[in-house]
């Protein structure tokens, strides 16, 4: 436990010492808001955005998008990079448990996600006049669940992919696919035919479903939460079984 605490503290400091990653984590939600918010505005349109304003609809989706970026872009590159450089080898020789290595990654990314999320929500409310969440209490577990699942997915990618480059490329690819299909880019209503089917294959779709429920006041989305949790458990299982130190 002491080791996990220290590892989280060290990882957090390492994150803060890397200026680019800090800028990325803080700027991404703002850029997302600025670009997509500018495109869609916040006027309710018949037949789109489940009948609410685009910004109201998208703010919880952007939270999901930010959680996904931290999970599937940052973690895989970091984990695979540490393995490639022999950092994990060094940890293992001193009997650092694998759970501490992965656990600290997940914990740190949740903390970063929290800050990014707060920045995003504050800007959406203040600058774009989005409606505040209907149930802040239900939003918290939705946030936590989404963050955990994306972090676990990231840990799985970092475990399976051999190099930092491969991990980063795969994470980026997954993130862009999710951006377009997961409900944070084009509104779900325009994704018809094959795309409509495909959108059910990306984890962000379920994360957005879970986050939009409390935000728009439609309650806790049990179906999406269940699927999301199953994805997270599967990823955790693969990570546990396939974790490699070198």
């Amino acid at each position: 436990m002491t080791t996990l605490r220290k590892m989280v503290a060290v990882e957090l400091k390492l994150f803060l010492r890397e200026p680019l990653t800090v800028v990325f984590a803080l700027a991404l939600p703002l850029i997302t808001l600025f670009v997509l918010g500018g495109v869609f505005g916040n006027t309710p349109e018949a037949g789109f955005y489940a009948g609410v304003g685009a910004m109201d609809f998208y703010t919880p989706a952007y939270i999901g998008l930010v959680l996904a970026s931290i999970g599937v872009i940052s973690i895989p590159a970091h984990l695979a990079g540490n393995r490639e450089r022999g950092v994990l080898r060094r940890f293992r020789a001193s009997s650092v448990p694998a759970a501490v290595v992965v656990g600290s990654e997940v914990a740190v990314s949740l903390l970063i996600a929290l800050v990014s999320g707060v920045v995003l929500v504050a800007c959406a409310l203040v600058m774009y006049g989005a409606a505040p969440p209907q149930s802040a209490w239900l939003l918290m577990p939705a946030f936590l669940l989404s963050g955990l699942v994306f972090a676990t997915l990231g840990a799985m990618l970092g475990t399976l992919l051999p190099t930092a480059r491969a991990a980063q490329a795969a994470g980026m690819l997954l993130w862009f696919v999710m951006l377009f299909l997961g409900g944070a880019g084009p509104p779900p209503e325009v994704l018809t035919g094959a795309l409509g089917w495909l959108r059910h294959g990306v984890p962000l779709t379920y994360s957005v479903g879970v986050l939009q429920g409390p935000w728009l006041g439609t309650g806790w989305n049990w179906a999406d939460a269940g699927i999301l949790a199953a994805i997270g458990l599967a990823a955790a299982l693969v990570t546990a079984l396939r974790f490699r130190w070198e």
Binding site: T2, K6, V10, L14, R85, G86, R90, A93, S94, S95
Partner: protein, 305 residues
């Protein structure tokens, strides 16, 4: 007292490539034991198996009475390790690394003292990336000692260091032994093994081709000594009658006598008897390097072919 490390018939292959054919040796408490061999001989595989970082295909291994295969985690908590090709995150600071690794072991050494001891006191806030090769090496040694281990494994610790830094590293190894810690030293440097090791095993192609103390190995495998002196005396062939002398070569005034046993004393006596008293009489004996080349020479020939 049982051996601190014992290896019996270790075998390890990576797919079709056999890294360790059949290796046995034992390391006693408190000694510096060397694994000496050319690159690719299987040395690193041996120490990785001993730390449970790799699974042996055959043989019996014991370190501090533990089986590395099944008790690897517990074992790694009790041994120290300086690994080849390992690193720390670039931006981690020296004190943070020590503090983190110390937190793994209840009753770990005071890392502030270790920092002082290993000459890192002024470097506590320096990032790993900013350290020189020698400083990194010292940090790794300090990390290897932070759990107060009974055995440390040092794998190629001086590779890539300049000569001055190597000397310092050697002193570090002797300082570790002086604490009462057993050291298993992996190296391909002959001078390093000869200077530091109490006993060593020469490993080649996954087998132990010789084992013993450095002087013992030299006596056994390269027993010849060379006695050199200069003289104006025209005839030195009488030296062939000295017991143990095998060859006498003369180049101008300098004479070289090759032989085994106590040839220096016997040659000196024979010279004095003839009234020849050279001022520069000296003996040279083979180094571990010659032993090593003799034992592993087939390899160099093959690589050239």
């Amino acid at each position: 007292m049982p051996a601190v490390v014992s290896v019996e018939h270790l075998h390890k292959a990576y797919g079709p490539v056999v890294a360790v054919e059949d290796v046995s040796f034992a390391v006693e408490d408190g000694e510096i034991f060397g694994l000496l061999g050319p690159n690719g001989a299987g040395k690193t595989t041996i120490v990785e198996c001993l730390q449970g970082l790799r699974r042996a295909d055959g043989g019996t291994l014991r370190v501090l009475g533990l089986d590395p295969q099944t008790q690897g985690r517990e074992l790694r908590g009790r041994v120290g390790s300086q690994l080849q090709e390992s690193a720390l995150p670039d931006r981690i600071r020296v004190w943070e690394a020590l503090d983190l690794f110390a937190s793994l072991t209840p009753g770990a050494a005071d890392w502030r003292m270790l920092m002082e001891q290993w000459g890192l006191a002024g470097k506590g806030k320096a990032s790993f990336a900013s350290l020189s090769g020698g400083q990194r090496q010292r940090l790794f040694v300090a990390l290897a000692l932070v759990n107060e281990p009974q055995v440390v494994f040092l794998d190629e610790m001086t590779t890539g260091l300049d000569p001055a830094a190597r000397r310092v590293a050697w002193e570090l190894v002797e300082a570790i032994r002086a604490r009462g810690t057993t050291v298993v030293l992996v190296t391909h440097f002959m001078d390093e093994a000869e200077r530091l090791c109490d006993r060593l095993a020469v490993v080649d192609r996954g087998r132990v081709v010789a084992a013993g103390s450095p002087p013992g190995l030299i006596d056994l495998h390269a027993p010849q000594r060379l006695v050199r002196f200069s003289t104006t005396a025209p005839d030195c062939d009488f030296l062939y009658r000295v017991p143990g002398v095998e060859a006498v070569t003369r180049r101008g005034e300098s004479v070289e006598v090759a032989g085994t046993g106590p040839v220096l004393a016997l040659v000196a006596a024979a010279l004095v008897e003839r009234g020849i008293v050279p001022a520069d009489l000296r003996a040279e004996r083979a180094t571990l390097e010659e032993v090593f080349l003799r034992l592993t020479s087939h390899r160099a020939g093959e690589e050239e072919a």
